[in-house]
């Protein structure tokens, strides 16, 4: 059934292997008896349950009877400390002669590997045993060395030797993984791992298949195609080396090799019948894990008459109860003693394909995983993992009494190795998975693209093509998508510098702000979209929940945490309530979220860029008011935005004309043309992803100078009129923008042109948002203090005028409010509103000059 018909030899091979799950064979397997006696020796050679019950049920009773008949067990039970995973049983004659490191290995119990199925059984081809020749697909040239496991082209000895060489010699100084902390990359990597095992005592050796492939292509291929055969050989090899080196080491059990990253890391959707029984690595998300299932591996029986005991191994999911006591020949006297039987742990896990891998409009696929022994409970629902394991297919029995079989197989994966993908994210190490995505041609193409002189404009145009013009805004958002370089100043006590660029769009309703947000949200992989109206502080940050089942406190993350390393789009920013907005303060500068709730105190990373859109408070933008007055947001928050853009409806005939043309074209353009543009979106996405992960520009000398100049200039402009027009925050923004622009060019160095563009964009945004509507002068203090300098000056002048007025009134202890206002108005040459008047009164009250009670003003 399993693999394609093209490999008949392989199929034959499996037949002999007794009871491995995927091959419901043994309908006719005459040769098995011999093999059986040979290697069903094991003690705790536990059968994994998921063997093929349907198969053996229907298969001729002969085979079953054969396997479970007591005589064989007697036969096999002799060498009890003898197990397949140990080199002894595996060894071809040559390996035995070599003298395996029995000393160490022997003292260490073997733990069998249910993850590999019951491979051990009946699989070794003993050269000296006769009658097996038929099973040996081997060239007969030199004994021992050319022998292969049947059904495969694996020669145990050479395979082992190669793997040992790999362990001893493999060095790759360039390849750095996050687990590699403390490894000397110029020394053989896996020897260091073995040393680690000796120290730590965790007898598992994880082997990256990628390394193996670069070391020995053929060995790698064998591993992928015949994992059941090859992995035990690897175990054997690893143990030999280990106990050779550390003969006195005491391990819980012998070392087990766990390969991972079987290069073809693939999508669940691509699994097909050809992958059955092969080593595969797939990624996905755990959606359900079962309870721990104790699986009986070996049953212990005792005769109730004579107390004779015997052990029966599980065979393809069944225990054959001995019907006759071998000692006293009483029938039906054997009783199962549960306490002395052996069990192993097993867990069923459902893995669902990760949302990124899914084609649009389809529901995700799932696949079942079986985890064994210590892999049980390693993952929780919700974890993103990469699983390496062996893909299995088992037929489903319809009914034990009916010979028909449901023509469908059940599939699952026996897990050999887990690798969580999202735990890395918390550590902030670069996303390996994302880097892997690019093929060489793609990278070439992107690099080619980056050399174009107008790449910046090009990309800006490709961004949300359905939204018309607003080029500077698109450029701003483009830079936001790229982000600045991350700098670490922890050692100087400043912590991380924010690399993310925050942007606020405000403007008239109906200027497609939401559409822009939606576009960005759809473009970036880790984007979140929320609306200010509908989100609460906890929804944005994180909340603590009590799991109803386990009574455990669980931290549920909100939009901001989820968009770590991405963009959080917040629509209707102005409608957000005060307390919700306040959590943004920390996120937008420190890029962290602190939580102190229900006994959980922690700080989560939230390195997210914020793209917010706000509507003016009076539904239409009032050009006579400042930004702050228009959107009524606290300036403390506004100053955290690097760029604030106004999206206003331009009043310009040429613009209208182009807009109309653009819109009309939307209403009849053909699908194909849209497809083309869709392609662009994919390119854009890749371009950004590539730049984000590979390009990390640093400031050049010149650029540094240019930035300093720019900053000094900005401050100068203000100081000329007695006000400050730039703060260090603005300088930081400039740096970020310049870096992002360098990223757009795939340049590792920030140059003057980057600074120029950063300056231009920053000025452009300032011009729009920080222009004092009364004077027409760009004034940064509108954003930083909420009031323009001129406004403040005017306020002071008015207060002074009022003070003078009151003083001129002489010694009157109290004055009428309305009277005073009228007098002031009569005197002043500008229109004095009631608000202005009240403000002036308040200012004077602050100076302890007067107090206001109701409608009277009292002098102090």
């Amino acid at each position: 059934m399993s693999s394609p018909a093209s490999t008949p030899s392989r199929r034959r091979g499996k037949r002999g292997r007794g009871s491995n799950p995927p091959t419901p064979q043994d309908a006719r397997s005459p040769p098995s008896q011999k093999r059986r006696t040979d290697d069903s020796t094991s003690t705790g050679d536990l059968q994994p349950m998921p063997t093929s019950p349907p198969a053996d049920v229907q298969s001729p009773g002969a085979a079953d009877a054969l396997f479970s008949s007591p005589p064989q067990f007697r036969h096999s039970a002799i060498p009890l400390d003898f197990d397949i995973s140990s080199p002894l049983t595996y060894g071809t004659p040559s390996s035995r002669v070599e003298g395996t490191p029995r000393s160490g290995a022997r003292g260490t119990p073997v733990r069998q590997r249910p993850d590999l199925g019951s491979v051990r059984k009946a699989r070794q081809v003993d050269l000296h045993s006769d009658g097996l020749a038929e099973d040996i697909v081997a060239t007969e040239q030199s004994l021992g060395q050319k022998l292969v496991i049947w059904g495969t082209d694996v020669n145990v000895a050479s395979c082992k030797e190669k793997f040992q060489r790999f362990l001893q010699r493999f060095i790759d100084p360039l390849d750095k993984e996050d687990e590699d902390i403390g490894l000397d990359l110029n020394e053989p990597r896996y020897m260091q791992r073995l040393q680690e095992i000796n120290v730590v005592g965790e007898p598992f050796l994880n082997v990256n298949c990628d390394h193996l492939r670069s070391f020995d292509e053929n060995l790698y291929r064998q591993l992928i195609c015949y994992p059941q055969e090859v992995i035990p050989t690897f175990d054997m090899a690893a143990n030999e080396i280990f106990f050779d080196r550390y003969p006195d080491s005491i391990l819980e059990h012998q070392i087990q090799v766990r390969p991972y990253n079987a290069l073809k890391t693939r999508n669940m959707r691509n699994l097909n019948p050809e992958d059955i029984d092969q080593l595969i690595t797939i990624s996905g998300m755990v959606i359900r894990s079962s309870q721990l299932i104790p699986e009986m591996q070996e049953a212990f029986f005792r005769c109730q008459v004579c107390a004779f005991t015997t052990r029966v191994e599980i065979d393809r999911g069944r225990i054959a109860e001995p019907s006759v006591c071998k000692n006293c020949n009483t029938t039906h006297s054997m009783a199962l003693i549960h306490n002395r039987s052996m069990f192993s742990d097993k867990q069923m896990i459902k893995l669902q394909e990760s949302p990124e891998d899914m084609p649009a409009g389809q529901t995700p696929h799932t696949v079942a995983l079986f985890a064994h022994n210590d892999l049980v409970d390693k993952v929780q629902p919700g974890d993103r993992i990469n699983v390496t394991g062996i893909y299995r297919a088992v037929p489903i029995r319809v009914n034990p009494r009916v010979s028909s079989v449901k023509s469908v197989y059940k599939t699952h994966i026996d897990v050999i190795h887990y690798r969580k993908t999202d735990s890395k994210r918390l550590h902030g190490v670069d996303e390996e998975t994302e880097q892997k995505r690019f093929t060489e041609e793609r990278v070439e193409m992107l690099k080619e693209l980056s050399k174009k002189a107008d790449i910046y404009e090009r990309l800006a145009l490709a961004l949300a093509p359905s939204i018309y013009e607003h080029e500077d805004i698109k450029k701003g958002i483009l830079l936001q998508l790229f982000g600045g370089s991350r700098k670490d100043f922890t050692h100087t006590g400043r912590g991380n510098f924010r690399a993310e660029i925050n942007i606020l769009l405000c403007g008239d309703p109906g200027t497609s702000k939401s559409q822009l947000l939606q576009y960005v949200y759809n473009l970036v992989p880790r984007g979140q979209y929320t609306s200010g109206k509908g989100s609460s502080a906890v929804g944005l940050t994180a909340y603590v929940m009590k799991d109803p089942e386990t009574r455990q406190l669980v931290l549920q993350t909100g939009a901001l945490v989820l968009s770590d390393n991405g963009i959080c789009c917040i629509d209707e920013f102005d409608k957000m309530n005060e307390s919700t907005r306040s959590v943004l303060h920390e996120v937008m500068e420190q890029q962290t979220l602190s939580i102190a709730k229900a006994g959980i105190i922690c700080q989560l990373n939230a390195r997210t860029s914020i793209l917010a859109a706000a509507n003016p408070i009076e539904s239409q933008w009032n050009p006579k008011k400042t930004t702050i007055e228009n959107i009524q947001l606290p300036h403390t928050l506004l100053s955290r935005f690097d760029l604030i853009f106004l999206m206003l409806d331009p009043r310009d005939e040429a613009y209208d004309r182009r807009l109309a043309r653009h819109l009309v074209s939307l209403y009849y353009q053909s699908e194909e043309k849209m497809e083309e543009e869709y392609m662009d979106m994919a390119v854009l996405r890749d371009y950004i992803a590539y730049a984000r992960s590979y390009v990390n520009p640093r400031l050049g000398e010149e650029a540094g100078q240019a930035l300093i100049e720019a900053y000094v200039d900005m401050r100068k402009i203000g100081s000329g009129r007695g006000m400050v027009s730039a703060y260090p925050r603005q300088l930081e923004s400039l740096i970020r923008l310049a870096e992002a622009h360098a990223k757009v060019r795939f340049s590792d160095k920030v140059e003057t042109i980057d600074v120029e563009e950063a300056k231009r964009l920053h000025r452009e945004a300032l011009k729009q948002s920080a222009t004092d509507p009364r004077t027409g002068i760009v004034d940064i203090s509108i954003l930083t203090t909420g009031m323009s300098t001129t406004a403040r000056k005017r306020k002071e002048e008015l207060a002074q005028a009022l003070r003078k007025l009151i003083q001129s009134k002489g010694k009157a202890p109290s004055l009428k409010y309305q009277q005073l206002l009228d007098d002031l108005r009569a005197q002043s040459d500008i229109a004095v509103t009631k608000e202005m008047f009240e403000e002036a009164l308040r200012a004077l009250a602050d100076e302890d000059f007067l107090t206001v009670t109701g409608k009277t003003v009292r002098l102090l």
Partner: protein, 637 residues
Amino acid sequence: VGDWLNSPLSIVQGIFAQNVPNSDWEKKVTEYFKEKLKENNATNWVPSLNDVPVHYLKPNSLVKFRCMVQDMFDPEFYMGVYETVDSNTNARVLHFGKYRDVAECGPQQEIDLNSSQTVTSERQTFYCVPVPGESAWVKEISFFASQARVSPSTSYTPSRHKRSYEEDEDMDLHPSKQKEQHTGKSCCSGGDIHGCVEPKRLETEASAGHHVISPNCSPPLDLNFPLPGEKGPACLVKVYESWESFKVNDVLEVFGVLSVDPVLSIVNSEERDGSGLDPMECMDTAEEQRVHSPPASLVPRIHVILAQKLQHINPLLPACLNEEESKTCEFVSNFMSELSPVRAELLGFLTHALLGDSLAAEYLILHLISTVYARRDVLPLGKFTVNLSGCPRSSAFTEHLYHLIQQLVPASYHLRMSIESMNHSRFIPRKDYTANRLLSGLLQLASNTSLVIDETQLEQGQLDTAGVHNVTALGNLITWQKVEYDFNYHRMEFPCNINVLITSEGRSLLPSDCQVHLQPQIIPPNMEEYMSSLLTAVLPSVLNKFRIYLSLLRLLDYSISEEVTKAVEEDFVEMRKNNPESVTADDLHKMLLVARFLSLSAGQTTLSRERWLRAKQLEALRKARLQQQKCVNGNEL
């Protein structure tokens, strides 16, 4: 009727036996059936699961099913080809496992699971439900289309008893229905009558189905229909080819082998009993078992030989309009020639339905033929959500309006908004991980379903979290034409194409593309009488023309010539020059939308200057009304 209808598997066997060594027998099978179905009206000879109760159909016969893909299960590996060995004679025979659930073999035979001839293949299972909200008239017309030819072949019904039962039922149904059809006048008021008759028929079959499986299945199985109160068979559709091309919510018509092998049900009960013993079976939870292999009598399996996506489910139209078949072209051109009278009549009909408001009726036509024809990055183009404000609240006007719409469109749903329904119903489909299936929600609808949201009955009250989510989902549906399905750990967007009509008193709390304020010219004293008399006044043939009109125009292409583009441009600039406030880009969007559907509604596939002016005029009228309304109750902004 040939063998290919009654026992398709034997045909497959024949082809298989002839071509056995090479694998192209599969292709030959598909071709054979394709040919057969092309023959004159052959598709009508195939009994449909939509019309005929499952237990009347012969197992392993060819059936068809018109359905929506509600969920996609995991792909299955099955024995494509397997070999059996006779235990007495040792004779080996090859069999095919395609189109089958169970690998069969004779009493003396054993399956050789280890044969080198075995071929493992892959197939995909879709969980399909009848098209949600399918109108009664769609069911009925297709029922007659097929029943007329199938009834002589009812001799295949398994037992005499059942046959007579069906014939009785047919006799009961046929005369009455035909009478309706012919007398015509009663037919249209039949909205309610059909509503009664049809479900009853289906109910009997459903209850019969329940009766059969009751010993096995204690709690009734949730068949997971998107809309409450839906009836009909759900089906596990096994697809053998190009399943990647199908998506969730696609409407399909499948032709395939019906499999109701009772063995499938036995499997379940056995497995459930023995789950404690056999570790292989406890791999899935009991819920998952129930959902993924429900009793075959309740959820039959169809092994698909041919499947096609349907552009529409209107039985009055040829199934596939894109084909360059003379028949189709003829049909379209014939209809186009008499388009304008049909439009006029429809307009008149809707004007009466909207209490004499012809402007609202005009907009309603535009709304009914609107469809999302493309998406520009995130922006869906061609959606035209109309908010009909100013609906009289008391007289159940909206209820009756919906009944009229139901008579016109092939699929629709009436969503009565209330605090209760917002808080307690499931709008967004949600993944149930214990049963490993997608629990359907109200918003899992097929393309071009009319969703009529009634806001007039909404009272003040508190929305809870679920309610807020539901309202947000509705808002997203209207603005972006997409629904975010809840996968617990993440959400996934599914684009959709649903025509939303909102009826409300004031401006709706949901977003909409255009708000039309209803100005009733007549207030009928008895709304019910008025509305039902409207329906009876329309001849069934005319009603059918309306139905064709609405379904057909939706499928037409459309373009704007360079010349008109220029004109529109000029116009826009001109309008802005006078008063930039009055016309925004948004308004232009709307005008272009109106112009598009206005042209299409007249059967024109390009925009003409006149249509553009007419569109502008309509928009101006509509806006003037809103302005007026604003003045009337000044506090409403």
